[in-house]
Assembly symmetry: C2
Homo-oligomer: 131 residues x 2
């Protein structure tokens, strides 16, 4: 089903899947030095492909990347992220009503959307409790 990944793609994917929180490209690179990766581009190229395949998401407000939470996620239409600034964990969800409203706006304005980003930064339940 999911197309085969190349060596570098597999390494990057495993690193992200095993992480508790989003990782920057350079952090991924650092964790893969022992596997032979040496340059940022090797990571960025893998991330590009993985993102295209919907296996990885980029968090714009963090300049970092996470593995997709849905096991066999094939590009869900619109994904929102809730990012905890304390523990770093990210929750991924989607909402059809939000999607409809944004679609409504773009249609009404003749805007053709290519990619939509929704990111909520704050503190997750667990971390609010501790505070």
């Amino acid at each position: 089903m999911s197309a085969d990944l190349t060596r570098n793609q597999t390494l990057v994917m495993k690193t992200l899947s095993g992480a508790e929180a989003p990782l920057s490209a350079y952090t991924i690179l650092d964790r893969l030095r022992d596997d032979g990766l040496r340059a940022p581009l090797q990571v960025y190229r893998a991330l590009d492909k993985l993102t295209e395949m919907g296996l990885v998401h980029r968090l714009e407000s963090l300049n970092a990347f996470v593995a997709c939470a849905h096991p066999n996620c094939h590009e869900q239409e619109l994904i929102a992220f809730a990012i905890c600034e304390a523990c770093g964990k990210v929750e991924e969800f989607s909402d059809d009503v939000v999607k409809d409203r944004l679609d409504g706006w773009t249609r009404a304005h003749g805007f053709r959307p290519a990619k939509t980003t929704i990111e909520i930064r704050g503190n997750c339940g667990g971390c609010v409790g501790k505070a």
Copy 2:
């Protein structure tokens, strides 16, 4: 009404207000060399304050800044941006239904939001026509 701005803040604000599209901090800096600005920090500090005041918004997916579209905008609750990748123009809007839905999700999950980003990248009406 709007608190007085300092010299640097005024310069940055004027630059952004006069721009057709979002500007990066370094672009702003370049345009203000003749006014005596020399270091990125002078721009970033001004941008921080202006953003706090709600006069300027940061576009996360662009790493760039725009003047707030609403004349006397005092921190509207939730703002969405539609960013044209062809001409660079940005439209700013808000939607209470979207806000309610996202609020609903965060409340249900005990998540305390601090800042929410909604950015739609694509092509605006004008540019879709030309294509």
